[in-house]
């Protein structure tokens, strides 16, 4: 997650949630459409800070009491206990975890035993639903056959490797520490351990040719991963890369080049049996059965509930969003003194919730039900006019719209934010 925290209201020291959270969770359950519950665990450590990356992560081994690599697992399990307490005190019915995701930073910089230990505590305090998906992110050079086997034995089902590129000069521009050949071995070990594999790719790095990108996609496909995420490189403000671009010493990304590469990725991936299900995500699913999708991420896009543990982590429970102190030391300090690690909270109003639903829903191949638009002040009349126009312009799938779903076409995927704005009436 991006390291800059949003502006919100202060959160109470005891972390207590407003009463309607519990009510909404119960209502959804009795309506037969229960809100699912997930856990995100942030691990804020990396060996090297990649120039483009603005995640909340640190290269120091020790960031203060409770915030060193060795003490971190203990601190974050403390938050799991705290979370269970907050949910109970707020009257939210207990729910088992459908998915767990360890993200970073580089979670695999912690010993596998620590990750397994954190997962174990999550199992104890919340319970894991049968068939739960448990993922960790990993850098290709931060795993061994043993560590992956240990994770699998401890309950992990999936690993997502930050491959980014198969081309050395692109990896160099991105400050990546791994070499291309680290990826096949890491993927092999994961397979051997019985883990599902996802690969993260980045396209549109300055200096990357279309051929370089083809090489990368083909190299990824050659490993037959279960899932591929491909992100256009985002120049984030405040990163080393961002400031080099600003100073003009580093070429900027070119959105037209990124569009070309997106189209190429879609073509190569589709030919190999991968189906897009979110703007930047493809699952190996030749028969279109919804296989191999990242269920954890689907929970975000479907507006489900999750607790985010760790510094700077965001949580969402039935329309209430809150986030933890950003710095690991501040975060650990709060937990150590029995204060909620959450420092900010917001409850988007109806209009903002509508915007969230639209912006998340139209990123997906399952799309957004047209009925969501009915809540607009004009009953959705304007949005329906826009839908017609966007079908004509080739941005939305006309058949799907007739069947009550708003789904972007390939061209629409590239202009997805414009679709969101037009549906939301601006």
């Amino acid at each position: 997650m991006p390291s800059i925290l949003p502006e919100g209201d202060p959160a109470p020291d005891d972390g207590r949630l407003p009463a309607h959270v519990a009510r909404r969770v119960r209502e959804a359950e009795s309506a037969g459409a229960p809100r699912t519950f997930s856990l995100y665990v942030h691990v804020p450590f990396c060996e090297v800070r990649c120039g483009y990356c603005d995640f909340n992560t640190y290269t120091a081994e020790d960031l203060g009491p409770g915030a060193s690599r060795s003490s971190y697992a203990g601190t974050v399990t403390g938050e799991l206990d705290f979370a269970a307490g907050v949910l109970a005190a707020s009257g939210v019915p207990a729910r088992q975890l459908e998915t767990v995701f360890f993200g970073g930073g580089t979670p695999t910089l912690l010993p596998a035993a620590d990750l397994v230990g954190i997962l174990g505590r999550a199992r104890e305090v919340f319970g894991l639903a049968p068939g739960a998906e448990v993922t960790t992110e990993a850098n290709p050079d931060s795993v061994t056959a043993r560590s992956l086997a240990e994770l699998a034995a401890g309950g992990f089902t999936r690993v997502s490797f930050g491959m980014q590129s198969a081309v050395p000069h692109v990896l160099a521009t991105l400050d990546r520490t791994h070499r291309p050949e680290n990826v096949p071995s890491a993927v092999g070990w994961a397979r051997d351990a019985g883990l599902e594999v996802s690969l993260d790719l980045i396209y549109g790095t300055p200096g990357e040719s279309l051929e370089d990108w083809r090489t990368t996609v083909e190299a990824a496909l050659a490993l037959r991963p279960d899932h591929v995420s491909a992100y256009s490189l985002i120049v984030e403000e405040g990163t080393k890369f961002g400031s080099s671009v600003k100073r003009g010493v580093q070429a900027d990304v070119d959105p037209d080049d990124q569009a070309d590469k997106y189209l190429l990725a879609e073509r190569l991936l589709a030919e190999a049996g991968y189906r897009w299900y979110e703007i930047s995500n493809w699952a190996l699913d030749p028969q279109d059965e919804g296989m191999h999708r990242a269920r954890h991420n689907m929970a975000y896009w479907r507006d489900q509930d999750w607790w985010g543990a760790g510094p700077g982590a965001h949580s969402h429970l039935a329309g209430v969003r809150f986030w933890n102190a950003k710095h690991p030391a501040a975060y650990a300090q709060r937990l150590a003194t029995g204060v909620s690690p959450s420092v900010g909270r917001e409850e988007p109003d109806a209009e903002a919730r509508f915007l969230e639903r639209v912006m998340l829903g139209v990123r997906l191949s399952e799309g957004l039900e047209t009925s969501v638009l009915d809540v607009a002040p004009d009953g959705g009349a304007q949005a329906r006019g826009e839908i017609a126009a966007m079908i004509a312009e080739g941005l939305l799938d006309g058949r799907a719209a007739l069947a009550g779903r708003i789904i972007p076409t390939l061209q629409g995927r590239l202009l997805d934010d414009a679709i969101v704005r037009r549906l939301a009436g601006f």
């Binding site: 991006p2 703007i279 975000y300 995927r413 202009l415």
Partner: protein, 619 residues
């Protein structure tokens, strides 16, 4: 050395023989207001603890910019050889845009202190103001200021001044407004040399209005110089131009704070309050008389200043239009030179076409509107007034490029200006090159001294209202001074260049230019807009055209990618907020056809055109 007055002469009971009315005139920044400070102090009307620099520059905008915009009159007592005198001093602005303020002040005086910076010498505005003072038959006291400066060259500039007004260099007084040296001697000299006012003490009252200011607390405050007779509190007065009658609620003198008095008599300068709320009922140049015993003849007329430069002013938030209208009405109360009428722009909505005396005047009005009335404004590129004669002989006055007639045209006349530039002689070539390039015709050149020359040109006004002064300064290493006044018109080969977005004309960008400059305007504007307008879902051609002929063209390619590639749990709040911001930003978008143009693009495209130009020496 002269002591302070022992018995300050009392208003309404002062023998005209002990009155001296004078103003301080100079080029901008030569130190008029600072000299005035020392006079306020020497005469004791401002106590040392109340003193601050440029005491009489009271408006925020004057203090921030360090320039005088409005004249201020102050009554000060002074004693010479045991005799008490009443001095009325008027501090005037030095910037060319406010020359009309100087002319008004001169009409209330018998003498003028011509102040010259001893490190700079005579500058263009020195000449212009001296000329005005001589026209008014005023007694001139030449004074060199800032003699404390190490770079001062009093000998050299005393000779320059002596050569100009035909006096002896030794007659040029030397003072420092900073240290106060020479100020008391100067006041003595004022008493000795400036004639006392003369008038008919017993005749019907006649007072000339030389300023009229709206004050939120006191209503309209009218500044007058009594020429004949006297005015007393609570009597009924008549404005001679309209015949309107008002009761004198208060009458008094500024010293420098207002002090009510028993009236004002011949030769005295002071203020009147009648309770009117609109300065237009108390017009500068009008004559005030007594209703009971009215005079029959007005004092010599005074011409309202004529606006030279026009610009469209539009509120960025369209719903602020009524606020802008009220704000202009309020500023107009204090500023007879401000004229405006409503206009509409397809691109910018409802606004006003506003006439100004020059670019500094424009800048100041705009700044006051934004600051005092909390308005966010767009102003279109300033233009002058053209007279266009159509083929059928119909003459159209064009104050806005959109009024420029389509179809066949017989001739276009543009206003001209006479300019005077004073520079060290080494820059003659550079100045001539600049003026020639701006279609100027040389009218003469005179050496003020061996190293300094005065160069005169006749030049299209439109060419000097934009960045002329900046260019002049940069080509002369900052040494040139410029003075201008309008002077007739000429027929010129002028065309209107339109800018089109996707075939739709954007009225706010139309410009009237000389044919030779049309192409470069077109290239500049289309290029700028290409940078400023974000890519849209469609390709957007940008064209510059004269009539139906396209002279320049750019293209904004259609946007191909408009999606954030990552949106996970922790990104949601941030991304939603980004969209909400875009939604807000959308309100600042103007639609031209189906092209969305951000307000900022208009502001940026219009701003560098003309802003920051001939607007005074200080930044």
């Amino acid at each position: 050395m002269s002591p302070m007055a022992i018995h300050a002469p009392v208003p309404a009971a002062t023998d005209p023989a002990v009155i001296r009315n004078f103003c301080i005139i100079a080029h901008i920044d030569h130190g008029k207001s600072t000299l005035a400070d020392r006079m306020l102090q020497s005469t004791g009307v401002v106590q040392p603890r109340d003193m601050k620099a440029q005491y009489l520059d009271r408006m925020d905008i004057e203090r921030e910019r360090g320039i005088t915009i409005k004249s201020q009159a102050v009554r000060m007592p002074w004693n010479v050889d045991g005799a008490d005198y009443a001095l009325n001093m008027i501090d005037t602005p030095g910037h060319v845009d406010f020359t009309y303020e100087v002319s008004r002040s001169l009409a209330a005086c018998e003498g003028a202190i011509l102040l010259v910076d001893a490190a700079q010498g005579i500058e263009a505005q020195t000449l212009a103001n001296l000329y005005l003072a001589m026209e008014n038959d005023l007694t001139i006291i030449p004074v060199l200021n800032k003699i404390d400066l190490p770079s001062a060259e009093p000998e050299k500039y005393a000779a320059e001044i002596a050569g100009l007004i035909g006096c002896d260099p030794d007659d040029v007084l030397r003072v420092s407004g900073k240290t106060g040296v020479g100020v008391e001697a100067l006041l003595d000299r004022v008493v000795a040399e400036i004639p006392a006012p003369q008038g008919n003490t017993d005749g019907p009252a006649r007072a000339m209005i030389f300023d009229s200011v709206y004050d939120t607390y006191r209503g309209v405050v009218t500044y007058v110089r009594v020429v004949d007779g006297r005015l007393s509190p609570r009597e009924k007065i008549t404005m001679m131009s309209t015949g309107a009658t008002h009761e004198l609620l208060e009458i008094g003198v500024s010293s420098p704070e207002p002090i009510p008095s028993k009236g004002l008599a011949v030769g005295e300068v002071g203020y009147l309050i009648t309770g009117v709320k609109d300065v237009r009922q108390s017009k500068v140049g009008d004559t005030v008389t007594s209703a009971a015993k009215p005079a029959t003849e007005r004092i010599g007329g005074y011409e309202d200043p004529k606006p030279m430069v026009f610009s469209g002013l539009y509120p960025i938030d369209g719903s602020d239009y009524p606020v802008l209208r009220d704000a202009l009405d309020k500023l107009k109360l204090n500023d007879a030179a401000l004229v405006y009428e409503p206009e509409t722009s397809v691109a910018l909505g409802f606004g006003f076409r506003v006439g100004f005396l020059g670019l500094l005047h424009l800048e100041i009005i705009r700044e006051r509107l934004e600051r005092e009335f909390d308005l966010a404004l767009i102003s279109t590129a300033p233009n002058v007034v053209y007279e266009v004669t159509r083929e059928d002989g119909q003459v159209i006055t064009v104050t806005n490029p959109s009024e420029f007639p389509e179809g066949k045209i017989n001739e276009v006349r543009e206003p001209m200006a006479s300019i005077t530039i004073i520079v060290p002689s080494e820059f003659i070539g550079a100045v001539m090159e600049l003026c020639q390039g701006k279609r100027g015709q040389m009218r003469g050149m005179d050496y003020l001294s061996e190293e300094r020359v005065e160069i005169r040109y006749w030049i299209p006004l439109a060419e000097i209202i934009f960045d002329f002064f900046d260019q002049l300064k940069s080509r002369t290493k900052g040494y040139a001074s410029l003075e201008w006044k309008t002077d007739g018109d000429q027929v010129a080969d002028l065309v209107k260049v339109d800018i089109l977005l996707q075939g739709e004309q954007v009225d706010a960008f139309s410009s009237i230019t000389h044919k030779d400059n049309a192409y470069s305007y077109g290239v500049m504007m289309t290029g700028k807009l290409k940078e400023l307008i974000p890519r849209q879902q469609y390709e957007v051609p940008i064209q510059a055209a004269i009539g139906s002929r396209i002279i320049a063209r750019e293209n904004i390619r259609a946007i191909r990618k408009d999606v954030l590639s990552k949106c996970y749990g922790g990104d949601i709040s941030r991304k939603r907020k980004l969209l909400e911001k875009q939604k807000e930003g959308k309100k600042r978008m103007k639609m031209v056809g189906r092209v969305e143009v951000p307000q900022e693009a208009f502001i940026a495209a219009l701003s560098s055109e003309g802003a920051g130009s001939e607007t005074g020496a200080k930044k």
